[in-house]
Symmetry: C2
Subunit: 453 residues, 2 copies
């Protein structure tokens, strides 16, 4: 017992620990695609997570080991639950929250028929604010604490999103869509206006509290070469902002891009020639990538957002997980829901379909690999692993409490809700991946404070 | 107003109407794969369903049209809901309820590693009874009112299932698994014992109240030619029982069957040579069927149970819906969850993945087509369409009440929960197919009585 513990933490250059969470904790200390799974997983069946007054993790470990030092601060005990770092969604469209389940089309037709008319509504700031609140509530209900987000083409849609995220103290990355062709008039900007508006939004929002900006050309179909060049100029002027776009989702899209950019050597090259392929660049989908494009993404340190429910819903195809995660030329990889083409806000349901995509390709996606992609892997894809994605001290305390018996069927599947071995943990977490949904998330904490549940 | 209406119904050879349900009703009067969808769908935005004292449908129609005659009997009003015939699951394994989400294997290895040890537990009648109760509760929670069910190899597992189904007054079809090879000793019967035990179970259960029996050889891998012959003998002796088995699910399985039956012309022929391909035969999966096999199934009037969540979970492949539903040689088709290889008890979630399978094959599965398969199509696949699957008077009153705003996200998607046009109904029901789950089912009625909700 150390009654003077807060004092000594402060003396050690820290801040005061203010609360703790006790329960079973799972996170990752290495990538299970490249490290033996038992070595990549960190599991404390009876663990303690100590949070300090700034909402960061002060200490983390076995309760028996660190309770001596932290046992006297207010502690919330979660029995028969599994606590994990918050889920990270590496690709989602906030204006599409109300248009999920739009019937019968593949990518290009789906955009024209459903998406563009829906996004038009986000010109209205009041509407955009209302939807931003609903969108963030839904993310938190599903245990997603950080996301890389497409707003609409209208700067006010970005303001609405960031204001709502700031009010919730969330670490979110977003940007205004840039699109100057192959879209209805009411959604088109120009190369120049996109540049000016984006620049103003970066100045206004990037690094404001926990918020970060992503330069966001929709995709090569809807951005002229001149607009892509302007996006590249912004990345040069602001080297620490992100680039977020779509890449090689659908066969017809790839062919269309090739027609539009005859001077380019494939789809990725349309971005590369504009200086958009960097280590803070995240490309959604990549279902149709060539070997050469995988190599280029690897060399650039860029990331792919794998969006299985969307890829199946739009019939885009089966992403090659094992190629992104090859020992030669690995590419950073996260999971994306891609709502509204995605069919669920739940990263668990997204992992369910990731498993199925792997199975159809005769590959196995273990629950630990899937949950790594959902947490530390996603943080690495977003270059946020120094701040998020695991319970390492110093990181931001965004985490979730999962209920392995959330439904009668899950209670039957998991008569023992707390794993005593790593093998039992693999089995338990696989049931969360396959059978889990929003109901599995009992509570969501942001910077150490309960935000949902 | 007709105060003497019960009397006149009885005089007309009917029985007394005892209750009515008022609300929005959707069912099918034809197959939307072959009939213009608007002609196949029957929709009453303000309808009335009248149930008689035997639990059958006495009358059905627009409230304004038939309320005169039935307006004075006790009526339950469902506002902002959609009422449909109960869902029909044409392939599910009751002993596998507790083993969903078994990791990492494809069909044959999955059977050996997970399924066989699990099914062993159903030798214990107490355990089997407990699981049968949980299984039927879960079906009702998901709006499934009739299912074609594999029990285990043990006759007591069939007794347990039928006793539980009888207690709930359900129309269920089930049978004892026959398997005399390529399985652990503890699960094997013999050709002769399978025959004798099945015969006794048919005598005991077939047509007992609403229960029906299916002769159930697991599949050609685990039944010797002699056992398949015995199954055929049972179908000859009891021409109105069903045949329920698996067919052409996985490539390795098809190759194994070909090795085991060198004298047969393909997988289906192993059943055909034993006299098992008939109009009350239901074959689960059919992912790997040849054109010739589709033709044979069509000619025999046999049915396929399409099980998309299972086919994706085990990586079996993409079923060719459009071939089963071709104008030339159509094959009767229903949806199956195939729990425990299937990943959900929900026929809505099953339809979600059926849509995705179709999309990956560049086909469109409309919500009406999917919901037809889930109701009248399933009833036809099970030769029960004279008793189930729509609201035609005389049919058994098994139906469900769906809530289009069951979750915050569905409420956002469906601000108007009641469709005023067939186009709006298509949009609304597509959201149920893509976003719905057990929560979408607010109530389940069996023979006119509320059984769940």
């Amino acid at each position: 017992m150390s009654l003077n513990r807060p004092h000594s933490d402060i003396e050690n250059g820290g801040v005061a620990p203010v609360r703790a969470i006790r329960g079973a904790f799972l996170d990752f200390v290495a990538d299970p695609f490249f490290t033996h799974e038992a070595d990549a997983v960190r599991y404390h069946q009876d663990g303690l997570l100590v949070i300090n007054e700034t909402g960061h993790i002060q200490a983390f470990g076995d309760y028996a080991t660190i309770a001596d030092r932290y046992g006297d601060i207010p502690t919330q005990l979660y029995r028969d639950r599994l606590i994990m770092p918050g889920f990270i969604d590496t690709h989602i469209h906030f204006p599409q929250i109300g248009m999920m389940a739009a019937y019968g089309e593949q990518l290009l037709e789906w955009l024209n028929k459903y998406t563009f008319p829906t996004e038009r509504k986000f010109q209205d700031p009041d509407y955009a604010r209302d939807m931003a609140d609903k969108f963030l509530d839904e993310l938190l209900r599903n245990g997603t604490t950080t996301a890389l987000v497409f707003a609409a083409v209208f700067p006010q849609s970005v303001d609405a999103f960031f204001e709502a995220a700031q009010a919730r103290n969330l670490r979110m990355i977003a940007g205004k869509v840039m699109m100057d062709r192959h879209a209805p008039d009411y959604l088109r900007d120009t190369a120049e206006s996109a540049y000016t508006e984006t620049k103003a939004l970066i100045e206004k929002w990037h690094k404001k509290e926990r918020l970060l900006y992503a330069v966001t050309p929709r995709f090569a179909v809807t951005s002229s070469p001149a607009q892509l060049q302007k996006a590249g100029q912004l990345l040069t002027e602001y080297p620490d902002v992100y680039l977020h776009t779509h890449l090689s989702e659908n066969i017809n899209e790839v062919a269309f891009v090739q027609d539009l950019f005859p001077e380019c050597d494939g789809y990725l090259d349309t971005y590369d020639q504009a200086g958009l392929v960097k280590d803070k660049s995240i490309f959604a989908h990549g279902v149709q990538l060539t070997d050469q494009e995988f190599q280029r993404l690897s060399a650039a340190g860029a990331a792919i957002a794998f969006c299985p429910t969307s890829n199946l819903f739009l019939g885009s195809g089966l992403f090659k997980i094992e190629q992104a995660k090859a020992r030669e030329n690995p590419v950073k990889l996260g999971l994306g829901t891609d709502v509204g083409a995605g069919t669920s806000f739940s990263i668990l349901q997204t992992a369910n379909e990731a498993y199925k995509v792997a199975q159809l390709r005769q590959q196995k996606l273990s629950p630990f690999k899937a949950l790594f992609l959902a947490t530390l892997g996603g943080a690495r894809a977003l270059s946020l692993d120094h701040q998020l994605g695991s319970f390492d001290p110093g990181k931001e305390a965004d985490f979730i409490v999962l209920h392995p018996q959330a439904t009668p069927l899950m209670a039957l599947r998991n008569p023992e809700p707390t794993a005593k071995t790593v093998a039992a943990l693999a089995d338990l977490t696989f049931s969360l991946v396959i059978m889990g949904d929003d109901r599995t998330v009992e509570a969501t904490y942001i910077m150490g404070e309960k935000s949902w549940g």
